[in-house]
């Protein structure tokens, strides 16, 4: 996989950060480059991924769903079966192990829905470190069970009351903490966003998803024709896509269209955004004409973010990956269809990818294959779906 010089993916990415953080990101990059090819580090990470997180995850042929649609064969990459219930643990184990090698005792992280916070708390508990997690105060209410889970796991949760009180503000606050405690603290960022080297490092830790897809498809004598993943910050998607961009596969990222792209109540950064600088990177953003960051909406808290990983911006502009957006309504339909046909409850984030797969598979030949990354399980979302259904029956 390509390591971007100067942290640039074309014109995207880079390092737009306060000067106080420069020595910290330089040290991080130096250590990451040193350890990523270190035999001992790799063996240790591999051990935790296998025995603790539960890798490799299965690639499941969704026979019932495929036959019901009558088109291409749909395969599900079951990241939802990982410890904690989402792909997030791939990255938190990697970074927590790196933090340990760097002898950082204090770990901070941000979280939106709470999945990355929980995965950070788990990795830190397993490796004997202390975690503090910033979470928007709107999200601590929406996802109070995840707050409790983090507390049980020994992490301290700091509610963030500034700005829109969601993920982007949690990132701002984590960065402010990092500036103040730069000499003692490791910032464990949860998506493929932020200043270099985070986007490339998170991509690399998540690329185990795409690598396994390749070898599992080869194992059944196939290559994927179409690959689909959901995109918020875009870590499960970049981990899925990166090992496959040099194959012939058609690659599709699915964003949250919320209540529709015209409604302005969405989080479809690549589909409807423009270039800008936020959280240390140049990338596509949802913003007004003055450059103020816009409010976002999605039924899935994990996609509710006005930016996107810079490598996705590059893959969009180079047209190697096509980005689309699925509405809340399509997503709930896909959630229900997968649950009923296969007995698998997907996270609402992942249901965006499923929604697009349903649309695509119908139009494709039976000989073709569609691989969908099921980035997380949906237990956390059943209440949200119930509320959505109640609202929409009443209307």
């Amino acid at each position: 996989m390509r390591y971007p010089k100067d942290g640039r993916f074309g014109e995207f990415g880079g390092r737009f950060i306060p000067e106080t953080l420069v020595p910290a990101v330089e040290e991080l990059e130096e250590n990451y480059l040193k350890f990523k090819n270190d035999k001992e580090f790799k063996a240790e990470l591999d051990y935790y991924l296998r025995v603790y997180a539960g890798r490799p995850t299965p690639l499941y042929y969704a026979k019932n769903l495929s036959e019901k649609l009558g088109g291409a064969r749909i395969y599900l990459k079951r990241e939802d079966l990982l410890h904690g219930g989402a792909h997030k643990i791939n990255n938190t184990l990697g970074q927590a192990l790196l933090a340990k090698k760097m002898r950082r005792k204090r770990i901070i992280a941000e979280t939106g829905a709470g999945q990355h916070g929980v995965a950070t708390a788990m990795a830190c508990a397993a490796l004997g470190m202390k975690a503090e997690v910033y979470m928007g105060s709107k999200d601590t209410i929406r996802q109070k069970l995840n707050v409790f889970r983090m507390n049980l796991l020994g992490a301290q949760v700091h509610p963030v009351g500034s700005g829109s009180r969601t993920l982007k503000d949690a990132i701002n606050e984590a960065i402010r903490d990092w500036i103040a405690n730069v000499e003692t603290t490791y910032y464990l960022l949860g998506s493929a966003v932020g200043p270099h080297p985070y986007p490339v490092m998170v991509r690399d830790f998540q690329s185990v998803i795409g690598e396994e897809i390749r070898s599992q498809m080869r194992g059944i004598g196939r290559t994927p024709d179409i690959v689909i993943a959901c995109v918020g910050g875009g870590s499960n998607a970049i981990g899925t896509f990166c090992p496959l961009v040099e194959t012939d596969a058609e690659i599709i990222g699915v964003e949250a269209a919320g209540r529709g792209l015209e409604s302005k109540k969405h989080s479809a950064t690549l589909s409807a955004g423009s270039r800008g600088v936020l959280h240390g990177m140049m990338t596509y953003l949802l913003q007004d004409k003055d450059g103020q960051i816009a409010k976002t909406h999605s039924i899935s808290a994990g996609l509710d973010y006005p930016g996107v990983g810079p490598e996705h911006s590059y893959l969009k502009d180079s047209r190697r990956v096509m980005y689309h957006a699925a509405t809340d309504g399509d997503v709930v339909d896909a959630f229900l269809m997968l649950t009923r046909t296969e007995g698998i409850i997907p996270a609402l984030e992942s249901a965006h990818a499923v929604a697009w797969a349903i649309k695509v598979a119908r139009r494709r030949r039976r000989s073709e294959s569609v691989v969908v990354t099921l980035s997380g399980r949906g237990d956390k979302d059943v209440e949200e779906v119930q509320n959505y259904l109640n609202r929409n029956v009443k209307d």
Binding site: G14, F16, E19, G163, N172, V182, D290, G291, Q292
Partner: protein
């Protein structure tokens, strides 16, 4: 010579250091900002730093965050801001420095934004999230139009200080503490060391201003004694604005500024 350079040259002749006084534009409204600036100018401030709000100010502490949020809620817009700058410029020839975030300039286009800012009366820009590695387009757009004031930190290496100083004009902004704006930690040993280090690395080729958490006349005195060419006071002004009825605002700002300015003048 730019207005900022001229101001430093004049102060040097009088053996004075510069007091740089901050205000968030439009907090809590345009008239209050104008009253604040009048108080600052009358009280002896040498340079005015005007904040323009950004929705996600990750280098700022609670005081400036809150002021920015209020200003945005009241409808702060880039175009309106330039009109406010023009109004200030009609009243005074004091150097005006804009502090905001990279995306505000990038969105309009560096060249277009800087041309508009200059036309309104802005003399320099401070962008706390603009690192030297990313500054090519910004520097090209600013050259011969506005001064580019970069920041250095107590943990910036000597080689990097030199590199940043070469890209800077007007003055070099030394961040006093590990933290965001407005943290009151008192004067730290490492900060005084940093002033000496930065002065040594720049060899007097560019003035060094110190800011972040500078809030009292005592702070100003100690930093001046340690060799700072300028001190920047920000969040402390916002606190006064917050606590003062509008009709007393200008006079309160005036007397606070006067106290601060006294510490930059030799006895």
């Amino acid at each position: 010579m730019s207005r900022i350079e001229e101001r430093f040259a004049e102060l040097n002749q009088r053996d004075q250091r510069a007091l740089i006084a901050y205000v968030m534009a439009g907090y809590p409204n345009e008239e209050a900002t104008l009253a604040t600036v009048r108080g600052q100018v009358r009280g002896g401030a040498d340079i005015i730093e005007l904040g323009f709000p950004f929705s996600d100010p990750l280098a700022d502490g609670p005081a400036i965050q809150n002021a920015g949020t209020v200003s945005l809620r009241k409808g702060a817009k880039t175009g309106k801001f330039f009109n406010m700058v023009k109004r200030i410029r009609e009243e005074t020839e004091i150097p005006l420095v804009l502090m905001t975030y990279t995306n505000i300039l990038y969105r309009r286009g560096f060249s277009e934004f800087i041309a508009d800012a200059k036309r309104a009366g802005i003399d320099g820009c401070i962008l706390p999230d603009m690192s030297i590695e990313e500054s090519g387009g910004y520097l090209r757009a600013a050259k011969d139009h506005v001064d580019t004031i970069f920041l250095v930190s107590p943990n910036t290496s000597s080689a990097r200080i030199k590199r940043i100083a070469r890209a800077s004009s007007g003055f070099l902004y030394l961040v006093a503490v590990f933290g965001t704006t407005g943290v009151k930690t008192g004067v730290k040993r490492y900060t005084l060391d940093a002033i000496k280090k930065v002065k040594r690395q720049t060899g007097g080729r560019i003035p060094v201003g110190i800011g972040f958490g500078v809030s009292t006349p005592q702070d100003v005195r100690e930093y001046v004694k340690a060799g700072a060419d300028a001190v920047i006071v920000g969040s402390a002004y916002l606190k006064i604005i917050e606590d003062t009825p509008e009709r007393q605002l200008e006079s309160r700002i005036y007397s606070f500024t006067k106290q601060l300015k006294k510490e930059t003048v030799p006895d």
